[in-house]
Amino acid sequence: MSCVFTPALSSGTCSGSTMTDCARPERLIFHIDADAFFAAVEQASNPRLRNRPVVVCGIPLEHGVVTAASYEARKFGVKAGIPFFQARALLPHGVFLPVNIPKYLSYSLRLLAIYLQYTPLVEAYSVDEVFLDLTGAPDPPAVLGEKIRRQIFRETGLTVTAGAGPNKLVAKIATETVKPNGLCVIRACELPGRLAPLPVSICPGIGPKTAEVLQAAGITTLGQLAAVPLVKLRSVFGLWGEKLHQAARGINDEPVLPLDRRPPEKSMGHETSFPTPLTSARRLEGVIWILSSKTAFRLREKKMLATGIRVKTRLKVNEKKIETRTFQRQLPVAITSEVQLAPAARELFFTHWAGLPVKGLGVTATGLVSEEAARRQLSLFPEIYPGVNKLEPVLDRLRRKYGEDILVRAANLLAGE
């Protein structure tokens, strides 16, 4: 493995063997991740913020949580997820800005437009991460990666880290090895050797809990994980053990899925977190109504119905521990109204909630089916809530025209009490 550093743009470029080493045609997948995206957009849109420690926080700032920190801010220990007051203490001279989602989405679309100049096979993995399928591109991967990175910097002022590999998994791992502002290419013929020395935690899907279990068994690198027999991994992790077994070897055959080829959504929902944990049942009920209303509105906009519901809670178990607990159940009929969704979510939450302070709450409609597919079922249960079908189209029209917050149900107001 050889690493070349080109300080003009990259903080690090890492390229493996040449084309002659790997003459066999292979897939070429890029994973591209915009560095410290939200903070970088703020720096790109305000020249005076460049090279300064910028911290983007939830609104209102004083009660918010850090959403993104520039690399200049990260040097002081500021990172996503910590409360504003803690970040302020670590970085009194930092620039703290409120999160501005429309601005970030606009930059995300500009990046997308650049990627589409190279291939139509672009999968938006998140607002700041994509996979590109560049199989068959005439340029060598390292040249291509650098070309894309330079164009992005020139046209948006943002730096990105790019990883290339024979599949999505290896490409993403490659990115992780050279963050920020780097480029890394791992070819198929270099597998699994290039992965072997890397820590298991670098692998997508291996979270702190799995890493902890592996570490307890003396497994800290992907090489060590690859050496564990499949039977053993299956016995500890079940089906997930098979995925681990393949991941450690860099095996993955998932296609890059552009928006128009994505399978229909199976669930949709909303969640929120509270700077000060909530213990008031009335306020929590209000929050459930707000989340359910937003979810139900989206369901109707997409002409989908839910056949199940999931409530996610983040509970403050003690001063040091926040625990995530998720509850779900099937619904007797397919639903699309907040008047049906909110009571179901409420019942699910209050059945399981033992009064612990709630740090975060989410309501998700699951088992989605299209309106058409559910029509026959719906006709079996007509007018469960009389009036719903007359009121909601009117509410939806107003929301579409003037914005989602133009009218709220009185129950939503409980959240602010």
Partner: protein, 83 residues
Amino acid sequence: MMFEEIKEPVTVVAVFSRSKVAPRLFTWRQRNYSISRVTASWSDYEGEARRLFFSVVTDGANLYELCFHTRSLQWNLLRIYHD
């Protein structure tokens, strides 16, 4: 660097050309500010109405955030960033 929330209506001289909007000058609290550069622009929707946002640098040192509401045709100064 700090920012100050303003959210006040302003009068803006802008060029509208081929679906692009380019603010050139604005008047706020009876003072004119000449825009030397638009450093960023983005948009969102409030219901059906599109809102256009602009980060602009004036001849002075500050950066201003302007918003144009395409339904009401109203310009607002949202924020000022200053040291």
